[in-house]
Amino acid sequence: MSDFAIQTSGLGKSYDLGLSRRGYGTLRESVVETAKGSLGRLAGRGRKQARGDTLWALKDLSITVQPGEVVGLIGHNGAGKSTLLKILSRIVEPSDGWADVTGRTGALLEVGTGFHPELTGRENVFLNGAILGMRRAEIRARFDEIVAFADIERFLDTPVKRYSSGMSVRLAFAVAAHLEPEILLVDEVLAVGDAAFQRKSLGKMNEVAKAGRTVIFVSHNLAILQALCDRGILLERGQVVADAPVTEAIDSYLRTLEQAADQDLLERTDRDSRGYDESLIRRVEIHDLEGGHADAVVAGRTATVVIETTAALPMTECRLTILNSLGHPVATLDSEVSAPVDSRDPELGPRIECELEGLPLLPGRYRIDVVLKGKRQIQDGLQAAAFFDVEPGVVRDRPTPISGSDGDIVLAHRWRLPA
């Protein structure tokens, strides 16, 4: 018996880099490796040397979570958030240390896992409920509620493969949201469906969080974490670097993001390069066209985002996402959605430019996430590749407020008022 909902001590998870890099081991490789290993031992070399590097996805993690606490896990890609959830939900075993979990655990690691396309909506509700750990009687009791939440009454007996993606996602979320475990683990599942459904899901999660259950959330959306959680745990390279009230933890995270943007981008390890790294993002900057120093631009004037890469590949494409200080996306600019004003310049070299005419952003601090594509593949991706401040200015003849206004962008607009 323990008074804690979750208690971990020295928890660690290591992966053999050699294997995780290749992904698929073949029998032949294994036989060869084993032979090499035994030959090595015969030759007097230790077994350790024969093995590749190990990566500690999670290392020496000791935390306790009280019953009823709602905790947000924050961190970069690869910081160990998902690994921790996978250990707590028993999908993978820790390599080191232990975790005590008290009470029934339900995990929402990916919406729609276990949906079978050939089965009808009704059959999938039962299957998915069972997969998520619900008893049959429980599902039956909640069936109508689930179906009503997903709003798919008419299609209950249609195979799920005929559903629109929105419908199946709604149904999957509805099943998951009606789980009633004592401990709920949620990984980035709130961003599904259309805006109305997202609002509904968020409301549901809010209810769950307020209903006295222990919840652990992972999300990149800091605004959602701030709204739902009391406590934030910031992970970096598999270790806890901050464990504090959620606002403080988010602040520390934003600071680490800025530090990361300051360092040489090529040295960052939290990139999403998927193995096709023929070209990497070297530098990301934003300039005001009319001079001024980099990374500070004035609202309403033309700003240029410059992305320097290590190589100019054929069919280079680039996607920029501008996010506000809470990590909420403000706008996405994607070169693959092209317009006549775009151009390709053979003289440009390994460099991409994106011009933002009359920058319609309100004063504040923003960051840019960059995805680089080339040869029809994602070459590299960096979150928080650059930060910039927008200074107050004049957008379409209207001065921007100095600070403290609601929203992030200025819309082109025209009033008609009584005289």
Partner: protein, 292 residues
């Protein structure tokens, strides 16, 4: 809010709700997981759902549906009768060759399909294995459980054909459940081992179809085991399907001499396979999500 907190009258009282138990998650070694009946019982609803899914999905969007359960063994029977019975003139222990081969094929079809689908069951459900915890043995076991529907249908057809051929099964027919149990034990052992091996080494996928072909010819389906001289005939029963197939003939066709020796050896061999397969599965189950 009220709906979330109100006690649900239909819900069975959870033992966990009364006294939440603490589960320690840590690196484990040795055997513990598959063979933990408590764990299997806790997830019994999921086991049922997986078997139900495998049954429902099996013949969805097929034109002939469950007729496939009959067409497979009957198709083989026709081919075998033409080529082995007529052309090659292989003996069938004095029985009509068609029923002789069908009795073996009914058992074999269950076994071969179980191997084919079961060994892929973990890999083809990799999304589940890497996202959700449940006793993984449910995947291969679910395939074998779903196969019972096909086995049942083809047994009915077998008996129809047996009676049509003027044969009457003896009291030995009561041995059928035992023979099926031997077959399931062997199939579960082999598929558990192969499905687990498949997680690490996709070579299994290429070996299986070939191995099934070989195994078919190593089993007295097209020919009677009496063609094999002693002591090889008795030794051949180490292949558990030898005892099962000869047993199926004895139990369904009303043949006189009981191949009890073969059945006994095959039963022991099936048990060994079962224990070995489950033991291997148990050892590597904890790493499935890391490798799949």
């Amino acid at each position: 809010m009220d709906q979330l907190t109100a006690p649900d009258p239909l819900r069975e009282p959870e033992p966990a709700a009364a006294a939440p138990e603490t589960l320690r998650l840590q690196a484990t070694s040795g055997f513990s997981r598959v063979l933990s009946p408590r764990e299997l019982w806790r997830y019994r609803d999921l086991a049922f759902q997986i078997a139900a899914r495998d049954i429902t999905v099996r013949y969805r969007q097929t034109a002939l549906g469950a007729a496939w359960a009959i067409l497979q063994p009957v198709g083989f029977m026709v081919v075998f009768t033409l080529f082995f019975g007529r052309v090659a003139g292989i003996s069938s222990d004095g029985l009509p060759y068609a029923v002789f081969s069908l009795a073996g094929l009914v058992a074999w079809t269950y076994f071969a399909n179980g191997l084919l689908l079961g060994s892929e069951s973990l890999v083809s459900n990799s999304a589940l294995v890497s996202k959700i915890y449940f006793p993984r043995i449910f995947m291969p076991a679910g395939v074998l459980a779903a196969g019972f529907v096909d086995l049942g249908i083809s047994l009915v057809i077998l008996f129809v054909i047996v009676f049509a051929a003027g044969l009457v099964p003896s009291a030995a027919v009561l041995m059928l459940p035992l023979l099926i149990a031997i077959m399931v034990a062997a199939a579960l052992g082999v598929t558990a081992g192969l499905s687990a091996l498949n997680v690490r080494y996709r070579d299994v996928r290429y070996v299986i179809p070939f191995a099934i072909q070989m195994w078919l010819f190593a089993t007295p389906i097209a020919y009677p085991s009496s063609l094999i001289g002693e002591p090889w005939r008795t030794l051949s029963a180490i292949n558990p399907m030898v005892g099962v197939v000869e047993g199926f003939r004895w139990a369904t066709l009303g043949t006189a001499d009981a191949p009890l020796e073969l059945i006994g050896i095959s039963a022991v061999s099936a048990l060994v396979l079962l224990v070995a397969g489950l033991a291997y599965f148990d050892r590597v189950e904890r790493t499935f999500a890391d490798y799949i």
